[in-house]
């Protein structure tokens, strides 16, 4: 049975962004840090493995403060 992979992104009212992957195996979820940084033109300020990291789950926090100036409004 194929594991379902999702990324949950929460954008707070102050613009801060947190993201968490689900169903992504081990360190593969690190790739999503780069994906989200690229999507948001943001810089990750902290990240941490959740306790069930070995069951393929991680947590990433980034900040929209760094993302905003590069938001493409064209």
């Amino acid at each position: 049975m194929t594991r379902r992979e999702t990324v949950t992104v929460v954008v707070a009212a102050d613009g801060t962004v947190t993201a968490e992957t689900h169903g992504v195996h081990g360190r593969a979820c690190i790739d999503y840090i780069a994906v989200l940084e690229d999507l948001l033109d943001a810089t990750t300020v902290s990240s941490a493995w959740t306790p069930d990291y070995h069951h393929a789950r991680t947590r990433v926090e980034t900040t929209a403060t760094e993302a905003v100036p590069d938001v493409d409004r064209a």
Binding site: T6, T8, V9, A13, G15, V24, H25
Partner: protein, 151 residues
């Protein structure tokens, strides 16, 4: 009454600081610094409009007018904004205006980030499955991973 504020991006300041820098001696002019996250002139203009201001915007100069109060925001070469308030305003009111503006700016940041995610996620292999708004106004987006070679 005239008040000038220097707006320092929060990334450059460890904590919010409000500090009178010069009184001018005559009591009619005050300069103080306020920590803020504001950097983008378009988002700043949108935030000003959210506070009820009439806005005239350029890249590095933004003029705003409220009832009885006018302000000019000027961005220096270092990226730091200076806000100069004129009219029925003292230092405490000017700082309070900037505080409200900072909150409004945060909401503009949130809207811009959510819009960007909606527009660009699919190209990154992420399909938007759901979008909900929490009691604290946070927007939660759940994306399904479309391409296995992404992870």
């Amino acid at each position: 009454m005239s008040v000038s504020l220097i707006l320092i991006p929060a990334a450059l300041a460890a904590a919010a600081v409000i500090q009178a820098r010069a009184g001018g001696g005559g009591g009619a002019s005050t300069v103080c610094t306020v920590s803020t996250r504001m950097r983008d002139s378009v988002l700043l203009s949108a935030a000003l409009r959210e506070t009820g201001a009439v806005v005239t915007a350029g890249d590095d100069v933004v003029d705003a007018a409220w009832q009885g109060v006018e302000s000019r925001f000027t961005r220096g070469a270092d990226g730091i904004w200076t806000a100069h308030f004129r009219g029925d305003v003292d230092e405490s009111r000017a700082v309070e205006i900037v505080r409200r503006l900072d909150v409004a700016y945060g909401r503009q940041v949130q809207a811009a980030v959510v819009e960007r995610l909606r527009d660009r996620a699919l190209a990154a292999g992420l399909r938007l499955e759901s979008e909900t708004v929490a009691d604290d106004a946070a927007v939660r987006l759940v994306f399904a991973v479309e391409r296995e070679d992404r992870a």
